[in-house]
Symmetry: C2
Subunit: 142 residues, 2 copies
């Protein structure tokens, strides 16, 4: 039986985060000691590892909830899990495309900056004047 701290260490998760997952129903309510402390077994280690791994792959918690659900029902079709993964892949590719455009623009800004004072700083000038941009970067928060 593991304490919440050891569970966290085993899975690379902060204690607060484990409790957070419990709060939103991603992790089950574990057994408690007489004194009220949480104790975990192997099933919980597996489940939390699954969650963490999916997070590392960028899946949002709601997608992970679905994936866990599928994982709990081994007789259901694999198709749903596959489509969740495909959706995630699309997201990743979209974000990559955006970042590529941003990188281009940033590089150009920096490249053209020749020092001197801010009055004729290329970086600031580009920011002031959107029309100097070559690429589209319409989306915010890429």
């Amino acid at each position: 039986m593991l304490t919440i701290g050891s569970l966290g260490k085993k899975t690379g998760t902060k204690v607060q985060t484990v409790r957070y997952y419990e709060q939103i129903g991603l992790m089950p309510e574990p057994g408690r000691t007489e004194g009220g402390q949480r104790r975990y077994g192997d099933a919980e280690v597996d489940r939390l590892s699954f969650i963490r791994h999916a997070r590392q792959l960028g899946f949002p918690l709601e997608a992970i909830r679905e994936l866990l659900d599928l994982s709990d029902n081994p007789d259901r079709s694999c198709h749903e899990a596959d489509s969740i993964a495909r959706r995630q892949l699309k997201q990743v590719e979209l974000r990559m495309d955006r970042l590529k455009a941003l990188r281009t623009e940033l590089k150009r800004m920096i490249h053209e900056c020749s020092g001197g004072n801010t009055a004729d700083c290329k970086v600031l000038e580009v920011l002031r004047n959107h029309s100097e941009c070559l690429t589209d970067h319409d989306e915010i928060g890429a």
Copy 2:
């Protein structure tokens, strides 16, 4: 003199967002009508455009605050603006690298999924078993 709505339209910003920027001190407190409504001039249009453009390039608001500060002081060295931009470029490149690793892993997961039921779904299996991963993807939230 522009209303907050027209300012928003001109700069591609939601009204709420303009007020939010004012609240956190990125935008100055504008003049008001007798009835208490905000009115904006050209300077505000420029400033908000600057902010929005920097956001599109992924700069966090705190970096934008610094950039605006530099922009307001034309005699200061360009060096600082340049280093903020370089920092941002590094961030972008870091995120791209992470996304690249994620994409690789997701593609492999999906590629190996041959249908059937979830009991032997590759997607779920990979998530269950981190050791099946080829790439590093240690950082979360890439």
